[in-house]
């Protein structure tokens, strides 16, 4: 298991044990973490699972595919540490990961 902390835009946070192999998005949806909608269920088709990855973890979450980058280009409130959480696979190496969800997903 990897502990992942999801911080909402209002500062409230939840830490959840997520099974390796799931994505950061699935960890949120399966536990009803607010702020991650994931309309498309992880097909990288909608950009409604946008998160900000804690700077210290950016490298460990892996490279951003061209598809993900294109989707993020037009997501709301994109920053340098923006990722689509459906594209981050959870592994033991991500134990302790901290992500913040934006105010709204569009």
């Amino acid at each position: 298991m990897a502990k992942i902390t999801y911080i909402a835009h209002d500062g409230s946070s939840r830490t959840i044990d997520v099974k390796p192999g799931l994505t950061v998005m699935e960890g949120a949806v399966k536990n009803n973490v607010p702020g991650i909608d994931a309309d498309c269920g992880g097909a990288c088709a909608c950009a409604t699972c946008h998160v900000y990855v804690d700077e210290a973890w950016m490298e460990k979450t892996g490279a951003v595919s061209a598809m993900e980058e294109s989707m993020l280009d037009f997501a709301e409130g994109v920053k340098a540490n923006s990722r689509l959480s459906c594209q981050i696979k959870v592994s033991e190496a991500l134990d302790g990961l901290v992500v913040t969800t934006p105010e709204s997903q569009h």
């Binding site: 498309c40 294109s70 037009f74």
Partner: protein, 409 residues
């Protein structure tokens, strides 16, 4: 049963999400989620895609683990059918005679596969694809050396054909219209998808009326076309659209018109009853408020939020641009908007390279819809522009040297 709170009829993507949003929004009354299928809410889109190809397992389909419902005090009643709504008594009556009282009712009854009125469709081996059980039957029927005949060249049919090819089966698609995706996509896209499938071994019989399915030894054996030609196969999939499950609502006197009619709070003609997802006909604010039926997960989620927000008296969520997606082979098709009033079509990108978008503009050059194949920027920018309802420059849209960011600026 327990005290009256929210009762949700239908434990699909819409119903399950409504229960989750109610808890997210702080609703602390009782929630009962009643579903006919044996499974807790799961994702249907992968049934014709990743799941059928064996790339996703049953656990991956589940929206949330079953423990989620107990942890969030959501009473989950599966394998349970609701027979009728007693609006005067504010209760639903279940098939086993049990009565579930409600303060607020949410209908999330979904849609069912349309059954064409043709002989032989009730034979064993003739399948539809709507539920996990349907998908299991289809998957079992496919494999190397098998042949799948699909009646209807819509998304379900084409996705199933692509998945059949991935599993080593043959696939032949029969369609009444002269082109594939005739009801849901523009001609340029139809041509592209037909070519792409043909290049991967899918056979098409277009413009062909189906007379029925012929059996042998009690099992479906061939599709009979007009002119008496036969298409033999091992498995048969009928994908000719969906019908909204509105009977419960209609029988209870709620306003229905090819879908349960709702407003932008997902409220039906009874203020205590909401309806969400595929079973509804809803207003489309971006398109002059006209009423439309949307069969999509994004719509199910949007209406689940509308209903949950209205129930807890939270401000209504911002309107969303409708969108859809489909995966076939290595193609990602993303569609935003609906081309209701389109008078002009603009193609951006390279169709031959399988990376392009088709933009549909109205008479004032406002973007109505975009269909994007492996072109996520065009989809994302298009979705933004459709929501903004402002005119765009057709020449810029067409010009690949002008980035979608500049077009959208």
């Amino acid at each position: 049963m327990s005290q009256a709170g929210v009762v949700i009829v239908g434990a699909g993507h819409a119903g399950g999400s409504a229960a989750a949003f109610l808890r997210q929004y702080g609703y602390d009354g009782s929630i009962t989620l009643i579903g006919e299928e044996p499974l807790a809410p799961y994702q249907r889109p992968p049934l014709s895609k990743a799941w059928l190809k064996g790339e996703a397992d049953a656990e991956a389909l589940m929206l949330r683990p079953e423990s989620f419902y107990a942890e969030n005090a959501i009473g989950l009643r599966l394998n349970a059918r609701v027979d009728r709504i007693d609006r005067d008594g504010r209760a639903v009556v279940l098939g086993d005679g049990d009565v579930a009282p409600y303060e607020t009712l949410i209908l999330a009854t979904g849609a069912r596969a349309r059954r064409a009125p043709l002989p032989g469709l009730d034979l064993a081996g003739v399948l539809v694809l709507r539920t996990a059980a349907d998908a299991e039957l289809l998957k079992t029927a496919l494999g190397p050396g098998k042949r799948l005949a699909v009646i209807g060249a819509g998304y379900i049919g084409l996705e199933a054909a692509a998945s059949a090819r991935a599993l080593g089966a043959e696939a032949v698609v029969i369609e009444r219209e002269p082109r594939v995706l005739a009801r849901v996509a523009c001609p340029a896209l139809s041509t592209f998808f037909q070519d792409y499938h043909q290049a991967r071994g899918v056979h098409f019989i277009l413009g062909a009326g189906v007379d029925g399915v012929i059996g042998a030894d009690g099992r479906a054996a061939a599709v009979k076309l007009g002119g008496d030609s036969l298409v033999e196969a091992d498995a048969f999939l009928v994908g000719v659209g969906a019908v909204p499950n509105q009977e419960l609502a209609a029988d209870a006197g709620l306003h229905c018109n090819d879908g349960i009619v709702v407003d932008l709070n997902a409220r039906t003609s009874d203020p205590k009853v909401f309806a969400i997802g595929d079973c509804t006909r809803r207003p489309m604010p971006i398109y002059g408020g006209r009423m439309h039926r949307l069969e999509s997960v994004p719509n199910a989620l949007e209406q689940a939020k509308q209903a949950a927000a209205a129930i807890v008296a939270r401000p209504a969520p911002a309107g969303e641009v409708p969108w859809f997606w489909s995966d076939q082979y290595d193609l990602k098709l993303q569609i935003a908007g609906l081309a209701f009033d389109a008078v002009q079509t603009i193609i951006r990108g390279d169709i031959a390279a399988a990376s392009f978008a088709v933009f549909h503009l109205d008479a004032e050059n406002r973007l109505q819809a975009v269909e994007a194949v492996n072109a996520p920027q065009a989809f994302m920018a298009g979705r933004l522009l459709i929501g903004q309802r402002k005119a765009v420059a057709p020449d810029k849209l067409r010009d690949m040297s002008v980035s979608m960011k500049e077009v959208a600026a």
